[in-house]
C-alpha cells in the first residue's frame, strides 16, 4: 500500500475539489496523524453553479469512485466513510449508492450516505460539511485546526472530491492518463462535460470542443461564483480550480456580473465573520453607484481574501479582481 502514495505522487495527482492540493500530501498527513479511528469523506457537494462533473462520474463511473474510497480506507485504516451528496442528485443516485454500501461492507468498510441541504453552497466547504454530518449547524470551523488531524468528531479525516477518488482508482489500475473532466457551460454551442488533458489551455479546450466564442466574452474558470474571468491572452493558460468553463454573454455589463456574484454570495454566506457578513452587503451597495467605485470594492475584497473565516469569503476577491483586470487589460 505504501507504494500507492509513491504512485500517486509520481502521477502528479492534485485534488479536483478546487484548491489543487497535492493528493499524496493530504493522504500522508492523515496516514501519519495519531489516532486509532480515522474517517474518509467523499465530497459530492458540487455546489459551484453549473458544474456537473461529479454527477457524470457518479452516474457513469460509480464503481471506480468507490474503489478509490475503498483504497483510501484501506490505506489509512478507516472503517467508516461517508459520501456527502448534492441534495438534487441524492434521490436519483440512492439505489446505486446503496449497492456501493453493500459492496464496501464486504470489504469491512461501512459507507454512510449523507444528503446535503438543498441550495447550500457552503455545505460543500469541508469543515461546514463535517458539522452537517455531525448534525450541527451549517457553519465553517476554525481554520487553525486541520481535518487531517482533527476532523469528523475530532478524528483524523481524509476529505476528497469525487473526481480525486476516481483518479486514485485509475492510478492504482495504471490507467491514469493525466486527463480531467471539464464542464463547459454558458453562451456556447456545445456545452457539457468533456474529458481532456489536465494541463490544456482554455483556448485549446474550447477549440477541441468546437466552441467558437466571441472574443469579447469573459470565460469564468473553475466555478460560476468564485472562479476568475478571463479573456484575450489569459485564455492561453490551463484551466485550474474545479474544472469548469463558463462563457459569459459578450454583452453582459460589469455591473450585472458583479451583482450576480455578490447576490449569490449574499445568499450563501454563513454570517460568522465580519469581512464576509458585513463586506458583501456593503459591496452590493457600492455596485449601485453610477460609476463602479473599484478602489473601494477591491479594498474590501482584498480584506476578505486576507482575513475571512472560511474559503467562501476568501474567494470573493478572485472573480471581482479578475473582472477589474479584464476590463483594464490592454
Amino acid at each position: 500500500m505504501k507504494d500507492l502514495l509513491k504512485k500517486i505522487e509520481k502521477a502528479g495527482l492534485i485534488g479536483r475539489g478546487g484548491t489543487g492540493f497535492p493528493v499524496h500530501k493530504k493522504w500522508k498527513a492523515v496516514l501519519d496523524a495519531p489516532g486509532e479511528e480515522k474517517f474518509v469523506i467523499c465530497n459530492a457537494s458540487e455546489g459551484e453553479p453549473g458544474v456537473r462533473k461529479d454527477w457524470i462520474l457518479l452516474t457513469e463511473h460509480i464503481h471506480e469512485v468507490f474503489e478509490g474510497m475503498r483504497i483510501a480506507c484501506e490505506l489509512i485504516g478507516a472503517k467508516k466513510c461517508w459520501i456527502n451528496c448534492n441534495h438534487d442528485y441524492f434521490e436519483i443516485l440512492k439505489p446505486r449508492l446503496e449497492k456501493q454500501v453493500k459492496r464496501l461492507a464486504t470489504h469491512g468498510v461501512e459507507l454512510l450516505l449523507f444528503q446535503e441541504q438543498a441550495d447550500s453552497y457552503l455545505g460543500g466547504e469541508s469543515s461546514t460539511m463535517m458539522n452537517a454530518i455531525e448534525g450541527k449547524r451549517l457553519l465553517p470551523r476554525s481554520k487553525t485546526v486541520h481535518a487531517t488531524e482533527r476532523g469528523l468528531w475530532g478524528k483524523p479525516t481524509l476529505i476528497n472530491n469525487v473526481e480525486t477518488f476516481f483518479d486514485v482508482a485509475a492510478v492504482e489500475n495504471e490507467t491514469f492518463d493525466n486527463t480531467r473532466l471539464y464542464t463547459i457551460l454558458g453562451i456556447v454551442p456545445h456545452h457539457g462535460v468533456f474529458r481532456l488533458p489536465s494541463d490544456m489551455t482554455v483556448r485549446e479546450i474550447l477549440k477541441q470542443t468546437k466552441n467558437k466564442i466571441d472574443p469579447r466574452s469573459l470565460v469564468q474558470i473553475g466555478g460560476g461564483a468564485c472562479g476568475p474571468v478571463w479573456r484575450g491572452k489569459n485564455l492561453d493558460q490551463p484551466a485550474n480550480g474545479a474544472g469548469s468553463l463558463e462563457v459569459h454573454d459578450p454583452n453582459i455589463t460589469a455591473k450585472e456580473l458583479l451583482k450576480r456574484w455578490l447576490k449569490f454570495f449574499h445568499e450563501q454566506l454563513c454570517g460568522t465573520c465580519t469581512p464576509c457578513r458585513d463586506g458583501v452587503p456593503q459591496i452590493l451597495k457600492l455596485i449601485e453607484q453610477k460609476k463602479i467605485p473599484w478602489d473601494e470594492i477591491l479594498e474590501i475584497t482584498k480584506t476578505q481574501q486576507e482575513t475571512a473565516f472560511c474559503g467562501l469569503g476568501r474567494s470573493i476577491d478572485t472573480p471581482v479582481r479578475s473582472l477589474y483586470e479584464a476590463l483594464h487589460q490592454k
Binding site: C270, G271, C273, T274, Q282, T307
Partner: protein
Amino acid sequence: MKNISFSLNGKKISAKPEESVLHAALKAGMKIPHVCFGTELKPTESCRTCIVEDEETGRIHTSCALVPKEGMKLRSDTEKIEKARKINLELLFAGHQDQCHDCNEGRWCKIAYQCESLGLDLKKYAPRENKGLIERFDGESVIEFDPSSCINCNKCIEACRKCSVAYLFEKGIGKDVTIGNHGGKMACTFCGKCTIVCPTGAIRTHNSIAAVEAALKNPKKIVIVQPAPAIRGTLGEGWNKEYDKTWTGKMYAALRCIGFDKIFDVNFGADITTMVEAKELGERLEKKENLPMFTSCCPSWVRYVEHFQPQLVPNLTSARSPHIHSGGAYKTWWAQQENINPDDIFVVSVLPCTAKKYEIRRKELMVNDGKHYPVDEALTTREFITMLRDRNVEWDDLKEENPDELAEYSGAGAIYGSSGGVMESALRSAAWFLTGKNLPKLELTEVRGMEGIKSAEIKIGDRTLKVGVVATVQNIPQVLSILKKDPDAFHYIEVMACPGGCVGGGGQPSYDFITQVDKRRKNLYTIDDHKSIRCAHENTQVAKYLSWCDTQKPTVKKSLLETRFFDRKTTH
C-alpha cells in the same frame, strides 16, 4: 509541557501550552486590537480584527485562536495587517455612532476609544442593516437586546452558557443571523454577564440614568443614594486606577458630584440583613427546619431558584437583601425621625448588579402598607461611571468625603460584595446569637477565594456547622447532587450568581482577566481589616433600627425585614 516562546512585534513572549497568542500577549501587557475575544470565553474568531502576520510565511492568522509554535515571529503592526484591520473595524461599526443615545455607556465606550486611537471612519460605509426591534428579556426592564447594534460576535451566548442558563442562542443563518433568546420557554436569570461582554452595547442593561437625572431635577424629591459594598472596591477602574485606601472616601465624593441630597450606604443595609439572617439561621438550626438554609440576597440566584429549582424556595432565608432593607429603613424609620413624607423620598442604589433592576420592582417588597417600593432606581457601576464622566469628574481630583448620617457599617457589611462574604458575616453574628460570644477568629479564610464551590466546617460553641459557598448557578447542579446523596452535607449555603460574588457582577466594568475581579474582592477584605467594628451586631445604628422595628406591629415589622419567594416554574 513546556512553555512556548514566540515573538510579537519583535518582543519575546512566553505562552503556556495551548494558550493563544492574543491571551499570552494581553498577559504580557501588549495590546492587539480585538472585539469578539474574551479571556474567559471560547474564541469565536468572528471579528477578524486581532489579526497578526507570520513574518516567515506572510500568512495572516487570528491571534485569538492561534496557538503559537516555538520561535514563531509574528507582527500585528504591518501595513497589510493595519489596513485589513481598519477595514474590518469600519465594516463592523458602520453607523454605530448613531446608537449612542440608547446606550448606557454613552459616548464613553471602547468603540469610541478605538475610533480615535486607530483613526477609524465610521461614516465610510453605509450603516449596517437594522435587523429588528429592541427586545426586553422576559418582558422586564432589566436587560434588552438591540439587533441593530449587534455585530454577531456571539460573546453573549458564550458568557450565558458559561455562567448562567443558556438563555441565548444564535438565531438564523447567513445574512439573517442574530441573537435569539428562549424568552417564554425559560427565564433569564438577569445575571448580566452578556451585558459585560457585549462589545457594542447591543445587549445592555435597561438605562436608569434618565430616571435618576429626572428625580435629581425634581425639587420636591429628596434623592437618597446608597452605594453597594462592591462599588468602593471597583470604582477607580473607570479611570484605570489601582486600589488604595482613599477609594471609599472618593466614592462618597463622586456621589456628591452627582448632586444627591443624601448619601447613605448599602453596607448599613448589609448589617441589617446579617442580623435578620443570622437570627433565622439560629432558629432553623434549633428547630432543624428547612435546612440547609440558602442565602437570598442575590436576586439572580433567587430568580434561578424560583424558575428552575422551586423545591428550594422554603430553604431560602426570608431575610430581605441589603439595599432593600436599608431602602425600607429610609422610607419608614428615617422619614419618621426627620418628619418627611415618604412620598417625597426617592432612593437610588448604585450596584454592581443587573438583576437588582428586577428585584426593586418585586411587589412583595413594598413598605408603608404597600405604598412604596424601598428602592426607586438601581444604577449599575457602569451607569454611575457614565454619569460621572458626563460631569467631567476626574478620579484624581476627587477629595475624600464622608457619607451622611445613616451610613454606619461593620467590616462584615463591607465584605458582602465578595463570594463567601455573606456567609462570613452571618457566621460572625450567628456565633454571637448562639453562644453570646464572638468567634475566636473572625476571618473565615476557608470560604474566601474565587473558586466556584467552597466548603468548610466551622465550630460554633459545641456545634459544628457545615457550610458551602457557591458562585455562579452553573455550580448548583453539583451542589444539589451532593445534597441528594447526603441531605445533611450542609447546614448553610451562600449562593451568588456571579464569579467571585457581586464584585464580578453584571453591572461592573468589563475586564480583560478574571484576576481583576479577584483584586476587587481583596479590596473589600482590606476594608474589613481596617474597620474598628467587624460584626453586624456591633453596629449601633442597626441596633437602634431593629429595636424601633420591634416596637412596630408584627405585620409591619415583617414587611420591613422579611420577604417571600414563589414557585414560578409552572408559569412557563
